[in-house]
Symmetry: C2
Subunit: 316 residues, 2 copies
């Protein structure tokens, strides 16, 4: 693995064609915004490029690619965006694992699985770095590219809310708005709009919220039964995790989601006092200091017990 | 009333001393951020200045003035910040009404009650304009002033979320962060932290949410009984109003708060299709296109019926 800078990254991309862009499984606005933003820029350069994801893309992200014609081709160059480890590619890892040529990322925990790595761990979103790469490619940035990159910035920072947000993030957002990003509409869709099914799921989640370790740990469990009752699905659960950290005094928020096969995943949210990526690492997961995730081969109750045992250790 | 620009406003303030700064009743982060930010700047210029408010300042805003020694004096010059009409001063209107020398505001509906008015209706927050005034005063901006002004920007835009937020708002935020504003901490306090009493009130509010006009209108009623059950109070209700607008399909969100005397107030939130300030004006209130408020001399049920009748007209 060779670490590269923005200029080198742009130089490499200029030399390549038939570029396949991989986004991470359970996709969010940053991986998708980076993927479709970079794809649009490469298409403008006259190259063939396409974005793929292992999982279904939630309907709210449709505007990122609604107008986009992505050509079909046999990939000659493979780029991963906002993907810290190959196993976060989900089912795509089986096909492309060990074959990734370039990765653009902002996770300090990036495992260096790609031949070239452009990593800026100080960036609040990978989209900050993809924005720089697109500028270095000297592609005229239209409002569609601006929308994609703004979506990455906004969603990965909880709408410029989290402590990871720097003045550079705000400046990049200002530039993208001047380039035509529809900030008001994007934020309304991402943060202000709850589908009726999600609103029902959220109500069940809040009703079932539990507190442990002298109310320093908050747990929300999302079960298959709750999806059935609310009409919602896993695709809509992205906004649940931040809720666990919002009650005064909570230092660790855990959102345990039951999968269809009865196994489960946990999203971890913390404040400064606890390193979320360390907690996730206890169970083979990873992420950032204040937002991380891990998977379990057991059911939600057993996973909860395992997680709470680790929380007790971390908080003592 | 004479409209003035930023330079003229700074020139006037330089000439004055013993300056009393008025904030609006039921204070929010913008009026308080502007008030304490401007007060700090004037104190740095060697002047005497003080901020007052008719209502109790919620505890979460304590950091805006925790370290501040505000001198006592008989006011010679009166400035109102982020106050669209004199009656929004609450009980201070009785004392200072008709005597206000200068107003710095961003409400298009400002009634021009002050002798001088510095109005920028394109600014997402009054703090954007106060920031310009402080720069024009050539006061070195320390991290306390930066915190105050950043608080105004962030709170009046729902953390840079609303459509009113422009690239200038983002650029101002970037500058303030570089000047030392603790953006992560401020946003955590303002948007990520719910007191246990507020969390209980919010749960009751969400449980009691009602939909009308083919689910295009959402109503939340906050009663004295709900304060009693949750241990919360009116001081904590600021975050309720945005909830009314979040369910898919809702165009008008109404939050009707019962006061201790049985009368009530309504906060109105809308999207592009409806002008909130027009709806508020039907009942003698005012505000912005997508966020406004009005008062009623009747109880919540009667106010709800009156509001819904107007909503039916507006939506038809």
């Amino acid at each position: 693995m060779t670490k590269i800078n923005v200029e080198k990254c742009a130089g490499i991309l200029k030399e390549q064609d038939d570029i396949l862009i991989l986004t991470h499984a359970h996709p969010d606005g940053d991986t998708l915004g980076c993927g479709f933003g970079l794809c649009r820029a490469l298409l403008k350069l006259g190259k063939r490029a396409r974005v793929i994801c292992a999982d279904e893309i939630p309907a709210k992200y449709h505007y990122l690619y609604a107008d986009l014609q992505m050509p079909d081709f046999e990939e000659k160059y493979i780029v991963a965006v906002d993907v810290a480890t190959e196993n976060l590619l989900g089912s795509l890892a089986e096909v492309y694992g060990g074959r990734i040529d370039l990765c653009i990322d902002h996770h300090a925990t990036n495992t260096g699985y790609a031949a070239y790595l452009l990593l800026n761990a100080d960036a609040a979103a990978a989209a900050e770095t993809v924005f720089k790469v697109i500028k270095a490619l000297r592609v005229p940035i239209d409002r569609h590219i601006a929308d994609c990159l703004y979506t990455g910035l906004s969603t990965d920072t909880g709408c410029f809310r989290y402590a990871s947000t720097t003045s550079n993030t705000y400046r990049a957002a200002a530039e993208l708005i001047d380039l035509g990003a529809a900030n008001g509409t994007i934020n309304r869709v991402m943060f202000e709009t709850k589908t009726k099914t999600y609103a029902a799921l959220e109500r069940l989640a809040i009703e079932g919220m539990q507190f442990f370790c002298e109310e320093r740990v908050c747990v929300i469990t999302v079960t298959q039964e709750m999806y059935r009752l609310s009409g919602s699905s896993e695709v809509e659960t992205e906004a649940i995790a931040p809720l666990t950290r919002q009650t005064e005094g909570v230092e660790i928020g855990l959102t345990i989601r039951e999968k269809a096969d009865g196994k489960c995943k946990c999203s971890i949210r913390t404040y400064e006092s606890v390193d979320a990526s360390k907690l996730a690492a206890c169970f083979g997961g990873g992420g950032h200091k204040q937002a991380a995730a891990c998977k379990f081969d057991c059911g939600v109750e057993e996973a909860k017990a395992l997680l709470l045992a680790q929380c007790r250790t971390l908080l003592s």
